[in-house]
Symmetry: C2
DNA sequence: GCCGCCATTGTTAGCGCGAACATCGATAGC
DNA sequence: GCTATCGATGTTCGCGCTAACAATGGCGGC
């Protein structure tokens, strides 16, 4: 049967003006388009020699399957969506990167929707926008309480995983164990002999911030100590600076656990400005382990969060959900944090001289 | 004609088991599916009353157009791709965010492909992966030389824009004027009376780094000064630290222009450790204006890059390209940087006391 | 009063692919 | 030697939409 209706006049010489489609491959390989499709999708029942002929035809034409057409026909786009908050922040940025790498490795493309703020409404809009693009699943990087709640039901059972979120919602969650991290930080300070530990907390509506407060309280309680009132910040260095000014004016403050490294930076700045020495007068522990934290003055003792692991686990969980694999108990997965001791913490009693620090 | 072949049995009660498609809307509104399509695409020749009926039917069914089907039929996916290097870095992260926001506002979805490294090969692979997803255009955030070169020709004229890239390639470029930024930094130090300005540079294969070196050289040359040998870093705080140790051992160093804020942080750390006072003994200027830089010790004087503007312009340029609008001379667009003076720079001669700093 | 034009709407034909079913031939089983 | 079975391949249909063209009817111009 002579094809070529003349609509898309093929250029003589072996290549056509438009990109090759599955039918061109089929013709060249002398098979039906369906056999090409089977090769494309790794179906078992294709004779080895046929497969090779098809593959070679694909190579010869430089054939690229059309993802849109595949998605339309198969109802699977092999694309996942990521809804994120502020990808300029180190945590979300690192998590996003890890998700993206893992997704590509698993054969999924990644579509992004990063709202400026992170209320439930904007998460909903983000998920909606991605659902409209026919993504197969969504990962929400939403450290705020409940922001992902109910998102799945709204979109006909679209698989959704939350990362860095708290237990509040009804979607599977992968997160770092903030409570354990806060305990690591607080226990470290207590072990250094400090009589109590102050806390500069994150915003009250962030579950991360809440859990860090709880971990800090738990450590103090276990040591039989009353917790001083936490000072609220907003994660920004400026708010840490303000907290530092406030604490510098208080007497008896020898140890501070700051809920993230950026606020710790502001706090260090304030203490330095007020002539309070770190760690001689006050010990400081942060949270996150930014790449910069090692070079703060002094180098910051902090709690490391493994965002890469977080992203990888989040993606794996989503893939399992999309494949309808049994998800078991991993639907609530927690990544363990670790303490990185540097030079912003010292034994209570102050004045001890520290040896020279030398970076690698 | 009675439809309903029974294949997808509609559930009685007004809603079907599967999501509504254009034909469902058409039936409810009493028009052909093509009229619905026209409403969807804002075609002019639809009577007002008809349009309203269609819109109301859409709302009633909660109809969502299938992006895959639209893309397949129209050969436009209304998706753009972004190839980025390391989205954990502040610059790329900020640019990506700005691109994403602008793209959504312009009605485009954003697909991401962020390679771990940034050689030309991985950029090529990233563009290929996005082209396979049928994106309508690609923005490459690739600060390294030539990484985007030739990418467009490889994919049948796929519109491509490079952001934060240098002049080297053959694709339209939007970037911050690094040369001007370096001049701002160097001139500032010279105006403070410093006899010369040292430079801690970025990696040699980054065009940004090269341009900053050239700007620094130009300022020195204009002042009739010979440029001291630049010290190479790799953008990391650790490399800045090493540069700081090196410079602390030299005599006559009173002013340093560091090619980014992260290295400046490491340098400040090293100088502090060696007992060199900033700004009394040595003035330091960075580049980027990280959110943290204001809280370094001391607060860092630096050059601000407007990544938001960069992202917005990049997207606008790409949209123009995709629409085949005349792109004129904006194909090489430069964003002006600005100097942010803080407390890490002072007049040459040292020892001047600075007034107390107070954050808002 | 007839013609032609234009606004509005409908009909048909794909876009490029995968799913479902049909077909064909070879092999095994008896 | 005849049939059941299975592997390998082909045919048909439709995913949900847009593009191209056709059809209709109202209007103004002469």
């Amino acid at each position: 049967m002579s094809a070529d209706t003349g609509r898309e006049r093929p250029v003589v010489g072996g290549h056509t003006a438009r990109p090759p489609v599955i039918h061109d491959v089929a013709r060249l390989a002398g098979v039906s388009h369906q056999t090409v499709s089977r090769v494309l999708n790794d179906h078992p029942n294709v004779r080895r020699t046929t497969r090779d002929r098809v593959l070679s035809a694909m190579r010869q034409l430089n054939y690229r399957p059309n993802a849109l057409a595949r998605g339309l026909a198969s109802r699977r786009s092999r694309t996942i969506g990521v809804v994120s908050f502020d990808t300029r922040l180190f945590g979300p940025a690192s998590t996003l990167l890890a998700i993206e790498q893992a997704a590509r490795a698993a054969g999924y493309a990644v579509s992004l929707s990063s709202g400026a703020n992170l209320d439930a409404g904007s998460v909903r809009r983000g998920v909606q926008a991605l659902a409209d693009q026919s993504v197969d699943g969504v990962i929400v990087i939403a450290p705020q309480e409940d922001s992902a709640r109910g998102a799945s039901e709204m979109h006909g059972g679209l698989p959704i995983v939350a990362v860095e979120a708290g237990y509040g919602g009804d979607v599977p969650v992968v997160s770092v164990d903030q409570f354990a991290g806060a305990r690591l930080a607080t226990d470290h300070l207590l072990e250094l002999g400090h009589r109590t530990v102050w806390h500069v907390a994150g915003p009250a509506d962030w579950l991360e911030a809440q859990e860090r407060v709880e971990g800090w309280r738990a450590s103090l309680a276990e040591a039989g100590l009353a917790a001083p009132p936490p000072i609220r910040g907003d994660w920004s260095p400026a708010s840490g600076y303000r907290a530092g000014i406030e604490l510098a004016g208080k007497s008896g403050v020898t140890a501070v656990f700051v809920a993230n490294d950026e606020m710790a930076l502001g706090l260090l700045h304030a203490l330095n400005e007020r002539g309070v020495r770190v760690p001689q007068d006050v010990s400081v522990v942060g949270f996150d382990n930014l790449p910069e934290s090692e070079f703060f003055i002094p180098a910051l003792t902090t709690v490391r969060q493994d965002f890469d692991e977080l992203g990888r686990r989040g993606l794996q969980l989503l893939v399992d959900l999309m494949d309808k694999s049994p998800v078991d108990d991993r639907s609530r997965s927690r990544v363990a944090p670790s303490l990185v001791v540097r030079r912003s913490t010292a034994r209570a009693g102050g004045g001890d001289r520290m040896p020279r620090f030398s970076a690698g």
